[in-house]
């Protein structure tokens, strides 16, 4: 499928640490089509954020290093791309929204300045025009009194408002895709929904693709068209959102879905919230075979013998588990 907007294949990103090589991302394939929303979901530490940041090469290199794989952006591989060419892609073609709105804006410049900076970098506008664009973007993301608030500093905004500013900044150059790295994790629950709605609304109006990184299954259900489940640096399952919730095939995915709090069930059946037992394995020395085996109640000797490949069990539904059919049935 070479027609895809973004095609990550066989990506391996390792970090050198004092204790050894951490294999944060260890062979990941992700594809995103134009105008599509893809969710990458997994526990913290599964490598999803590193994967997202690696697309724009925003990880620190060193200690990080892209060891293998390719990142095709509209058919062009970003991995060997020199910094100058990389800069032309950042924000102009792929926008990025960070997890921490409180610290992701520079406290010493006005938000207008910071948005205008992006626009000026890529569109070569005058200072005046760029500021006008910044105000326009702020009102687009529903910040009241936008033309006045462009002159305010980040500390004069609340967390939710700052995340709106971050979204405005990421969208200011009309990118074809936006990567949102846990954009709601740091926010209050009530604000989280507003930000997700805003993201959806922006996507409808501007028609860009969204790669949304999250650990919350609830967010996935609300926003995604396609879902990719990551575990310990690997993709373990990939399907459309309906397929995945209707028929999760990987035991880890099943665990994730069962761990969503459900008020209706809790009230009627007195069911307790299920947690997945155990912890994520060390990425310094990942175990041989299936990385989930130690926590899996379906695990057999075969599971620890060889790494299960990601295979298309059902058309359009990929899974990396040798017992997938038996478990799903």
């Amino acid at each position: 499928m070479s027609g895809r907007l973004l095609e990550i294949s066989g990506l391996k990103v390792h970090f050198r640490t004092d204790d050894g090589m951490v294999r944060a991302v260890d062979g990941v394939d992700i594809g995103v089509d134009g105008g599509e929303t893809v969710c990458v979901v997994g526990e913290s530490g599964c490598g999803k954020t590193v994967t997202a940041k690696t697309v724009l090469k925003l990880i620190d290199m060193p200690p990080g290093k892209i060891v293998a794989g390719s990142i095709l952006w509209q058919g062009r591989d970003l991995v060997p791309l020199p910094p100058v060419a990389m800069r032309a892609i950042r924000s102009k073609e792929i926008g990025f929204i960070f997890q921490e709105p409180m610290t992701s804006l520079n406290p010493v410049y006005t938000v207008g300045d910071q948005i205008a900076e992006t626009v000026r970098q890529h569109e070569g506008m005058s200072r005046r025009a760029a500021m006008d664009r910044a105000a326009e973007m702020l009102s687009l993301v529903n910040i009241p009194n936008a033309s006045r608030r462009v002159h305010d500093y980040p500390h004069q905004f609340s967390g939710g408002m700052r995340q709106r500013v971050m979204i405005a900044m990421a969208l200011s150059c009309n990118p074809k895709m936006v990567i949102a790295d846990e954009p709601t994790t740091a926010l209050d629950v009530t604000i989280q929904a507003q930000i997700l709605d805003l993201l959806n609304e922006m996507k409808q109006r501007l028609g860009m693709a969204v790669l949304l990184i999250t650990h919350a299954m609830g967010v996935v259900a609300e926003t995604a068209q396609r879902v990719i489940v990551m575990y310990a640096g690997k993709v373990v399952e990939e399907a459309t959102v309906h397929e995945l919730f209707a028929r999760p095939m990987h035991p880890y995915t099943q665990g994730l879905i069962r761990s969503i709090p459900r008020l209706d069930l809790a009230a009627t059946e007195h069911r307790r919230l299920e947690a997945i037992p155990g912890t994520v394995p060390s990425l310094l020395n990942p175990p041989v075979g299936c990385r989930f085996a130690a926590r899996c109640r379906h695990a057999t000797a075969e599971c620890s013998a060889a790494e299960p490949p990601l295979r298309e069990a059902v058309p359009g539904h990929k899974v990396a588990c040798i017992h997938a059919e038996a478990i799903a049935a």
Binding site: L56, L58, K92, F98, E100, L105, P107, V108, H122, A170
Partner: protein, 319 residues
Amino acid sequence: MTQYLIRRLLIAIPSLLGISVILFTVLALAPGDPFEELATNPAVPPDVRAQLRASLGLDDPIHERYVSWLLAMLRGDWGYSFVSRIPVDQLIMQRLPTTVAVIGASQVLALCIALPVGVYAATRPYSIFDQIANTLAFVGFSLPTFFTGLLMILLFSITLDWLPFVYSTNITSSGWRWWWDHIRQAIMPVLVLGLFQGAAWTRYVRSAVLDVIRLDHVTTARAKGLPESRITMRHVVRNAMIPVVTLVALQMPAVFGGAIVTEQIFRVPGIGSLLISAILANDTPVIMAVTFVFAGLVIFFNLIADILYGWLDPRISYR
């Protein structure tokens, strides 16, 4: 911002009062009457003595003495030098410009060293450059100014005979030559002070930049597609200047200390060497006044640092 400035000014007043109280306490605690010698010193005319005693109100209760002393100090009513019998304020005003010029030039030099070296080292942490710069900075601020001063005299004046080692107050040449002679004799004092401060500041700049460089907003700037040089200047160095200003302000007393030593080594006719010669000659009014002027200068520079700080960090001035 105006409000912030007014508040800083109001905060500076108690500091000035505090320093003056400490100065006065030292004076009051000193055993004996520091002006005792006046009575037996034939070099001091009786009217000068009477005026001094009156201006200091030596027989009043302690708090009244403090108030009248402070008022006299603030009015610039500092009495006469025992030695030269010139009014102390004149004496200081003659010499202050030299001190300020030497300190100013050396601070500019220190900044010109510390900023590029510190930033470059911090953007390449643990590289060869960083390690060499870091080691040299350690050596630089471990070398006391009096020793570097002597070393420079040994090298540039005695061995190479390039520069004069005694500052001359009456340079007879004119035109360009006059300027050149002045610059030539200022080179070593400025170098000694500037290199010492530069070494200390390099470490401040390096660690401040290292702290900022790993902050989230720098990654944001990178995600915007800005060139690395622009990220460093606009999003790293600009933010790192905020803690550096504070640290530099804290260093001001040490800078003046270094200036006293340097002036003494090179015989620079500034207020530092005035202080030393006054102490060696038991010239109390001059000693008091110079110490007071140094205190005032420290507070003045702290105020400047506060203003800079408020200008650099919008979060401060709005609070």
